[in-house]
Symmetry: C2
Subunit: 282 residues, 2 copies
Amino acid sequence: MRDFSSDLSALALNTATLGHNLDGYGAGWPVERVIDACAERGFAGLVFWRREIAASAQTIGERVRANGMKVVGLCRTPYIVGATAPPNLDEARGSIDMAAALGTDIVTIVTGGTEPGTRGVAESQLLLVERVAELAEYAADRGVNLALEPLNPMFGGNRTCLFTVAEAIRICEQTGAPNVGVAVDVYHVWWDTTLRQTLQAAAEPRIFGYHLCDWLADTGDMLLDRGMMGDGVADLKNIRRAVESAGYEGACEVEIFSAADWWQRDPGEVLDRIVERFRTLC
Amino acid sequence: MRDFSSDLSALALNTATLGHNLDGYGAGWPVERVIDACAERGFAGLVFWRREIAASAQTIGERVRANGMKVVGLCRTPYIVGATAPPNLDEARGSIDMAAALGTDIVTIVTGGTEPGTRGVAESQLLLVERVAELAEYAADRGVNLALEPLNPMFGGNRTCLFTVAEAIRICEQTGAPNVGVAVDVYHVWWDTTLRQTLQAAAEPRIFGYHLCDWLADTGDMLLDRGMMGDGVADLKNIRRAVESAGYEGACEVEIFSAADWWQRDPGEVLDRIVERFRTLC
């Protein structure tokens, strides 16, 4: 296992952790200030959301690299299945173009939920395989990889039709595309006692992302009540051990949606706390 | 598969579906009126909550049977692990006594969450095995079976340390007690695409309960926004097929916590709707 106590070379910030200044949460720091603040503290990379970068993908990517960091990924395609997915894949292809312009090789996919007129998730998953395969080809031509993110089962219905890493790995295999892998997010997988075994059993567990936060024992809001590492009950070191045993050597991306707590604080304080917790608890 | 279109002999009501009159929800029907209303509509059984029956377990059980129905189960022991579990198993034993007095052979167990001072769920599950084994012996002496209910992973942390039917079956096996089985609740398992395979692979899948509701695609509240059968995205017939393939021939217990919708309606209307949906959609 990598030793983070004296090495921040895996630490990345998902900018949502500072409250998405476009949402009325957080201190409203412009993205440039976020980049500089991460660089000052020794972060190794950042993950952006599409709405933050709009037409300035290339400039933002360059600023990150000029600060000695890396753009670790882009959040995310629109849903590609389910009731609220756009009618075609144009916007998803646009997000792949944006990733290429940013200079990152990872775009995350949150799938979207159950297809209208169907029940359960089986038919949605079949459609998902088709659409991911189609996007994978487009992405490969641009040097981009797709990271399928399974979500906590509470997000079934309208946000996801992938619930476990095992399921995401199966979908990857079914697409047959080498540039499709899995994003493992502590918030979504912390409860899954089969994770290590799943990763060990996989013929080729392509982990394209590892997202850090904590699961608060008394989670009050499904979406916006994630905990800072160390404040919850997730066994962070054990999860990282499982992920690294499967060959993962990439970034640990801190992604905390926390409307009532961390999004109310000064972003500098949040970043300092992340660094401290990352060194000692992750 | 059993044909419910003309046969209500499997239909049971979990009384929480009418709003728990002690909580300020629902129409506040006394339990006697609930029993009579179920009998009028051809229900085959009821499941009660401890707080509803207090010291009158025997009388209530007799009233159910005098109406030609059965007490299908008792909800539930207190948590037996986790931060809010009572310090000993006395109250859990009391709930077993109450089940015996009611004349039902099933008590449901919702485990409780992660033990204080631990992370993840591994240690909580070890403790769970010990405590369930201890309760199983006490229950066996009173002719009572224990149904371990895995919960949707969103309830990890403070309510459960069991998340899937596979995990619950493993815990049952580890207790080594023949009177410990699993309660399968649509709300908690609808997303699990491995359910059928899990039940088929189990050496002896002791299913002691099957709970019906639906998962609303846009679930707004973790606890109190369950859907009526047919209003959500759960593949109800497919789940029942999996459960019946594993030998289950018991009751289908309708359990809908719905503060904003069904708990606001007249209980008679709710019961009528249940019967209609049960015949056609379950």
